[in-house]
């Protein structure tokens, strides 16, 4: 390892949050392209030596993380899982915030078709979403946090795959429309039955 790689390694060890390329360059007084190469070399070095740490690029910067091989032991050492899995309600709410941010709770509830108060509160408490001002109607808006990017291993929310891929196929949509219209006609035909 050269001097720059060692310095970058030390900075990543110290930093509690991912460090951007610019910050690394400023603090090491090196050029960005040199730091970029040093980070890449450091990552390969860890990989090649089979170390317990990996270099990851998340939330707009570089950071050290543990290797998944250490996870079972880490779990025994720390006694509780790093992040409990998301409930379906939380995952849906988080997906809506991630794709539509900034988005208000009434809008989340409209899309989910149910009140999303408790899911939103839990996500806030877990620090994966945060408030982002208010809408023109005064409702609190939400966005995802840097912790969200870290936990989901994302550089930025732009890395999320296109949401349209989960739309039903045109055939499925047509069938859904047919079924809805038939249900409407059946109701219209018997107006007095409750």
């Amino acid at each position: 390892m050269n001097a720059l790689q060692r310095t970058v390694e030390a900075l990543l060890f110290l930093a509690p949050q991912p460090v951007s390329l610019e910050d690394l360059a400023t603090s090491t007084q090196a050029e960005q392209h040199e730091v970029f190469k040093a980070v890449g070399d450091l990552r390969e070095h860890y990989d090649y030596e089979g170390r317990g740490l990996v270099v990851r690029e998340v939330a707009g910067g570089y950071t050290l993380a543990t290797h998944p091989d250490a996870e079972p032991a880490a779990r025994r050492l720390l006694a509780k899982p790093r992040t409990p899995p998301l409930t379906p309600a939380q995952a849906e709410t988080l997906a809506i915030v991630a794709y539509l941010q900034p988005v208000s709770r009434p809008e989340i509830a409209r899309i989910r078709g149910v009140n999303s108060e408790s899911a939103t509160a839990t996500l806030l408490e877990r620090g994966v979403i945060e408030e982002a001002g208010r809408s023109q109607f005064g409702a609190v808006l939400y966005r995802t946090t840097a912790l969200f990017l870290k936990l989901f291993g994302l550089q930025s929310v732009k890395e999320l795959p296109d949401v349209a891929q989960w739309d039903p196929s045109p055939e499925e949509q047509a069938e859904l429309r047919d079924r809805l219209l038939r249900a409407g006609e059946a109701r219209a035909a018997t107006p007095t039955s409750g």
Partner: protein, 249 residues
């Protein structure tokens, strides 16, 4: 939590909790035309006064319900529009529902993706401890702008403690015209034959025009009068209706 649905009503045609009335009206077991909605509102105001506090959420719920009932009732009272409008609405409603179901489906997919992604990432852990204070570049004690100076905090709080000036209500005046008065006037006009709405409100102010319209609706409800309007904003011709003769026909 108490809701508007708990409101107990004692009306001429119905007595019971408000949500039952709603259900019955929606299932068409109580004729909405027979329910005096003003009584419902009065009962609700009494109910509010008795409780001595205003729960905004409950009050809002009630407003939405009563507004829906009023709209339903006013549709029933007015001469029936062409029927195909209803079909169009049903189709539109289905489209709207479909659009919402598709949107929901999309984010369900995204949710499943996030779920998997989180599980796949669960092998990696990051430093959880923050940097010790002596290593931080900026600490709260040295925060710029003096946000933690006591007099800054005091000045910020002080402006909140000052009472706002009282609201000037001098421009509000009590209404001087009643539906009963306008009813009497419309009935006297009817006795002389048909008339136009403009005649009935000639020279009157906006409030009087509005109250006269209510009186006219009341006459229609009682079966005493009917009216015709050839085009929007055109003259409204009002003529009397003999309930006895129509009943025989």
């Amino acid at each position: 939590m108490r809701t508007a649905a708990e409101l107990e009503l004692d009306l001429d045609v119905f007595s019971g909790p408000f949500d039952l009335l709603l259900t019955l009206v929606l299932r068409e077991e109580v004729d909405l035309l027979e329910v005096d909605l003003a009584e419902v509102v009065l009962a609700y105001l009494d109910h509010l006064e008795a409780r001595g506090e205003l729960d905004l959420e409950v009050a809002t719920e009630f407003l939405v319900l009563i507004a829906a009932l009023l709209e339903l009732k006013s549709r029933l009272m007015l001469p029936r529009e062409e029927e195909d409008e209803l079909d169009l609405e049903a189709g539109e409603a289905a489209e709207e529902l479909l659009a919402r179901m598709l949107e929901n489906h999309r984010y369900r997919g995204a949710a499943a993706y996030l779920h998997e992604r989180l599980a796949a990432e669960s092998g990696h852990r990051y430093r959880a401890a923050p940097l010790p204070p002596e290593l931080r570049r900026i600490t709260i004690d040295h925060a710029p702008g003096g946000a933690y100076e006591p007099d800054v905090l005091g000045a910020a709080l002080g402006s909140l403690l000052r009472a706002p000036p009282p609201v000037d209500t001098r421009h509000l005046v009590a209404p001087r015209v009643s539906v009963a008065e306008r009813l009497a006037q419309l009935r006297s006009l009817l006795r002389r034959g048909s008339f136009s709405f403009d005649e009935a409100v000639a020279g009157a102010d906006r409030v009087t025009v509005a109250v006269t319209l209510f009186a006219l609706l009341e006459l229609y409800k009682q079966g005493e009068a009917t009216w015709e309007q050839a085009e929007p904003f055109g003259p409204i011709a009002v003529k009397g209706r003999d309930p006895a003769r129509e009943g025989a026909a």
